[in-house]
Symmetry: D2
């Protein structure tokens, strides 16, 4: 079974649809219950689902208590964007940005490691190319994405020799609602479509007897 967070929109939604089409058992999560129900309705199977704000430890705990079997793969797509020059950014939106991207990912990975570190679970953490470079107009977004990268690379060291594997994904320039609502004026017409990114990502997450693809960057052509 594959657990997807942030399944109601963007890359998470595109991945859910494609895995659903393959007949892969799914468990979907998202912050907004209504959106999540609409998402589930678009699947051909009737995947299990649970709405959870991952920045709340009890919500995460509840989410995993619902799982009736071990997930083979967890794909963490949940996150949000906020952009603009630092002097124009609002403190409440900065707080949400930190919660939605950093706090939630720390709590999710903590829970996953507490529960499954000795299980053959592949945890895919979807970040952004903003985790790899600095960008003007994206200072706080880069900050939370760099944080997740530092977290993930440190946790890999903690998980050395364990069965659980962490896969880092860095997509750049996708055309999701995420950008349209981000307050940053950008022509996204040549951006990757989430469906394309999902297809590439699905294919690139692969493993063999003694190895696995651990880091994947997807970029605009």
């Amino acid at each position: 079974m594959i657990l997807i967070t942030g399944a109601s929109s963007g890359l998470g939604f595109a991945l859910a649809k494609q895995y659903d089409k393959d007949g892969e058992p799914l468990f979907l999560s998202g912050r907004d219950n209504e959106k999540l129900i609409k998402t589930v309705d678009e699947m051909s199977s009737s995947p299990a689902f649970f709405a959870a704000n991952l920045a709340k430890p009890t919500a995460i705990s509840n989410l995993f208590d619902r799982l009736v079997e071990l997930p083979s793969t967890v794909i963490h797509c949940a996150g949000s964007g906020y952009f603009g020059a630092i002097e124009d950014q609002q403190t409440d939106k900065i707080e949400s940005l930190i919660e939605n991207n950093l706090t939630s990912t720390i709590y999710l990975l903590r829970e996953l490691i507490q529960r499954y570190q000795d299980e053959k679970v592949t945890v895919v953490v979807v970040m952004s190319t903003a985790a790899q470079v600095a960008k003007a107009g994206e200072s706080t977004y880069c900050a939370v994405k760099w944080a997740v990268k530092g977290l993930l690379e440190s946790l890999r060291l903690e998980l050395k020799g364990k069965a659980m594997k962490l896969v880092a994904v860095y997509p750049g320039g996708m055309a999701t609602e995420f950008w349209q609502s981000s307050g940053k004026a950008i022509d996204t017409s040549t951006f990757m479509k989430p469906d394309d990114a999902a297809r590439m990502l699905k294919q690139a997450i692969t493993s063999a007897e003694n190895g696995y693809v651990s880091d994947i960057t997807i970029n605009r052509a």
Copy 2:
């Protein structure tokens, strides 16, 4: 005038004492008012001071309203540590870690840029070598420090051509109370003393007509 945050302990305190000895006008800040008053008492001059939790936007605003002159240099030493394997970390302490290191630094830099981006102000942000590498047992600490590095490097791009300059400092392995209270069992006897780190830092923060030392890493010998 030099404004120092986190002036009540560790590197911030050591810097305050040394600049005070040089007769440099100071403005000291720290979270705890009592500790801050004790700190001020140890100075030969009577530096102005203001206790502020930098994770609170209004506290930062109040702090800068108190300044009677433009600071030539702001040295941001405030921060806190929290260590251990992720599965043993507590969510409330993770939240404090994020607030004390990331949220506060975002708000402080935002305020500084709003007020002084066109002034000749040197802003020194003290991070840690944990901002540069991943470390087992320091996953969340690395996360917040990587975040501050990503923030700072993005803000440099935003400040291109502006009078304000950002200096990044990465000290490694100092023997401060910080470690003693961090819950990580470590022999700190061969660590750098804050006084030594402060002396080196003070000397290395230097500039010339068309250039400046922008990044400094200090390591244990």
Copy 3:
């Protein structure tokens, strides 16, 4: 048609065999003509081939003059290893290491860009995880691999908006003859087999209308 360098051994050989099995037209290259002929003999088709020392500009030029059609993909696997503490390394072997890894890659990419920058050619450069981290006992090997990474990332900036795409591949810990002859005593029994790495790599090199997988790290499980 797919052009593979370093096709006579290791990952290059494994890729050649797998693409050959798929019925993919190939052009194979390697330094040693005899080894290359043996490699070609193991293919089900009779792929075109040309032995070339890529550190010699004329050899590269001759190689590309032989191609009767545009390669859709060039997979640059050629390279060599040399390990040990710096004080024990021999200068002639260091020179070979630089030639086989850095000089050759510069000349190959230069030729490819001169000829095909406006063509839909995907150039896959196989490096190593030694391009991403520093390692004791691998100082000169890390040096040449970091060099190739810096080269590739700079060339991406030069190729912005061009049809040619550069894909970076970082495999870690493969069990090739390469290691057996490297003078470094290491138990490679749990290392990835080149066949496994080739299978994952083949699958992960993928693209869509507006995007492509640009960076892939493959690690030991």
Copy 4:
């Protein structure tokens, strides 16, 4: 005694003049004997000197055989630049670039470590901000500078616990002849002067009982 390589021009020359003014005993090296003699003539003392092409192992060996005492500090400034789009670069100039920056630094550090790893010698390696980022039009220059950074960071791991210390210096945008002869059209009037960079560097290379400044980036204001 301070040994300076690349002492006949740019930052190396500026450092030599300033240390000479301080009365610091010097040993100067450069590739060109005539230029080196002119350099020595500009010093107030009569520093020892030796012309050496550091890409030749025997030349390095001869250089160190000449030293009559242990150098407290070695400042490696030697290097050369070569710029332009990769398709316009000439192979012989690429080879010189590799020799002057990478091969020479490997051989120099190898010799230093063979001779002095257990001595209190500080080895300062001057690179460039091109060692830290990718740049269009500087692909091969970035390559060799990234190489030196990877080398240095790996050697630090090999030297762990040893008395010898490695200091990394990354200057950006200096106005040296180096640029004027680099074939890259750039207005260097707002660039740092080597004298300014030398003054800052001299001040920032500092150490204390248990620590030292290990990495310094100097940038244009």
